[in-house]
């Protein structure tokens, strides 16, 4: 190849690479579920074999349990969860006006605990918080994710995008280098997945 040809190829590569990390068109977005192995999908399809449903059952009990100094249960304000919080989980993370920043679903639950129930916040990743979150999220099952459409979230989304693209660490990799540039490949046997926001962890496959 002539030196000019090499330069042309190099220039093309530079021009092409940023385009790969652009927004994914709606039609091309895939659930984390679609990256799972058929065996894992079969477990998820049957609510009586999916261990995640144990957390949903625990969450339902917690929803009706009175907690904190106020002696209130989630159900005392929100009533019947199937109607009152349908679609709520699909909108998180959402902007919290009082805090002036976005909160995720777990943080929202803890805000209710400290504010309304006057109870201690549940530790992140604790069984109870996972259970309540699973139960709340269950009420939005099948609904499309509708987070980050609030204009107040824009600066935070921009910051998140920047962090996603930013190369860092010993290997000098950004999230995008695997999850955008190589999402259809596998890393050490696990699917890399393309920014799948639901149906995770797909690596359970």
């Amino acid at each position: 190849m002539s030196p000019t040809g090499t330069i042309v190829v190099a220039a093309l590569l530079i021009a092409v690479s940023p385009a790969r990390t652009a927004e994914i068109p709606q039609a091309e977005r895939r659930s984390g579920y679609s990256f799972m192995a058929p065996d894992t999908q079969a477990i998820q399809d049957d609510d009586t074999t999916n261990p995640g449903m144990l957390w949903v059952l625990d969450g339902e009990k917690l929803w009706n349990n009175k907690a904190g100094a106020a002696g209130k249960a989630c159900a005392d304000c929100h009533h019947e969860a199937r109607a009152s919080i349908k679609g709520v989980a699909a909108r998180y993370p959402a902007f919290d006006k009082a805090l002036g920043r976005p909160v995720n679903l777990e943080q929202r639950i803890n805000l209710c605990r400290t504010g309304q129930q006057q109870a201690a916040p549940l530790p992140y990743e604790s069984r109870d918080l996972l259970a309540l979150t699973a139960f709340v999220a269950q009420q939005s099952r099948g609904l499309p994710i509708d987070a980050a459409t609030d204009p107040q979230l824009e600066p935070f989304v921009a910051k998140g995008r920047e962090l996603f693209m930013q190369r860092q660490g010993q290997l000098n990799l950004g999230c995008a280098n695997c999850h955008d540039d190589n999402w259809d490949k596998r890393l050490a046997g696990s699917a890399m997945t393309r920014r799948a926001a639901n149906g995770s962890p797909a690596s359970a496959a």
Partner: protein, 106 residues
């Protein structure tokens, strides 16, 4: 009471072989792990599981530390008569849980 998920067909034909699936919520701590301070995390597992079909025991299992958390036990039986399946789990630290499911045999 620990959560359990039971899958028993609601209806079956007489003489039909049916599959029963059970999933019990349990940490199944092996007793072989240590904390960062070097102390042994005490064993906490389910040790027995049994299923009775209209009072008669049709399935029993002993469980050991190698069995993963939230044990999923599935087995087959022949549907002979309408009635009730009763499931029982017992384990360390006085763990005891029960569940039941009904079946209509036509």
């Amino acid at each position: 009471m620990a959560s359990a998920l039971i899958n028993v067909p609601k209806k079956a034909k007489r003489g039909e072989t049916i599959e029963i699936k059970t999933l019990m919520s349990h940490i199944m701590e092996t007793g072989y792990r240590h904390t960062a301070e070097g102390e042994v995390v005490p064993r906490d597992i389910i040790t027995t599981f049994s299923c009775r079909y209209n009072g008669a025991e049709i399935f029993r299992a002993e469980l050991f530390p190698a069995i993963s958390a939230n044990p999923f036990i599935t087995f087959f039986t022949v549907a002979n008569e309408s009635g009730k399946f009763e499931f029982e789990w017992t384990g360390d630290r006085g763990f005891a849980a029960t569940a039941s499911a009904s079946i209509t045999v036509e």
